[in-house]
Amino acid sequence: MIAACKIDISVGEDDFDSAVELEKLRSAGVGAIASFTGIVRDEATGPALIALTLEHYPEMTTSQLRKIAEQAADRWQLGAVIICHRVGRLLPEDNIVFVGTSSAHRKAAFDACAFIMDYLKTEAPFWKKEETTQGTRWIDARISDDEALKKW
């Protein structure tokens, strides 16, 4: 039996270790752990990517991520939610984001993880700036990210 959902949010410049975060999701009553790890691609929207700089609104970021995790916990029976999001200058292959969810059964863990990522993409105040071989530019938001919310 799972008690109240444990929520752990961290935002900062330091890297995280997905394996370590996954271990934290194990607890009594948990039969399923799902996770998503976002990584910096080496291709920009055009030319080769040198780095990606993530800016955020620190006071709002943590509270928004917590709200999203709480919405997921209201909707599915979850043991724990972990969200780690990095900011600052990141290089190709660096970790950007980790979302992990645990539950008694796989569907709740999978769905809650996807729900959190979809909402994070549209409601958490982060912005990415690409540094490429041809200069820098702010990445535009994708309409498909807004569309993704409709399924929830």
């Binding site: 976002g38 993530l54 800016e55 955020h56 609104y57 006071e59 709002m60 509270s63 928004q64 999001h85 950007i96 984001v97 990522m117 994070l120 993409k121 549209t122 409601e123 958490a124 105040p125 982060f126 912005w127 990415k128 700036k129 702010w138 990445i139 535009d140 938001a141």
Partner: protein, 83 residues
């Protein structure tokens, strides 16, 4: 009132934050955007396309008709691109 700008809006306004004594005529977020747009060309450029302006009042997403008071923190930023 504390006003904050993020991402390319910060680059256009040339500042990450500024203090403003709330003018009597500014009652809502929409009024504030009108007022700030007259501050400088950079402000006008940052806030030009209302469809791309996201607003948070006291750390919560707000709408154009959200009412304001002098102690609020208002943040302007483009659509988010995290994850």
């Amino acid at each position: 009132m504390r006003i904050r700008y993020f991402a390319w809006m910060r680059e256009h306004t040339g500042c990450s934050e500024e203090q403003l004594a709330l003018p009597a005529a500014v009652l809502t977020v929409s009024d504030l955007i009108d007022h700030l747009s007259s501050v400088s060309d950079g402000h006008a450029l940052a806030l030009k396309n209302r469809k791309t302006v996201r607003v948070a009042v006291n750390l919560t997403f707000a709408a154009p008709d959200t009412p304001l008071c002098d102690t609020d923190e208002v943040a302007f930023f483009p659509p988010v691109t995290g994850g």
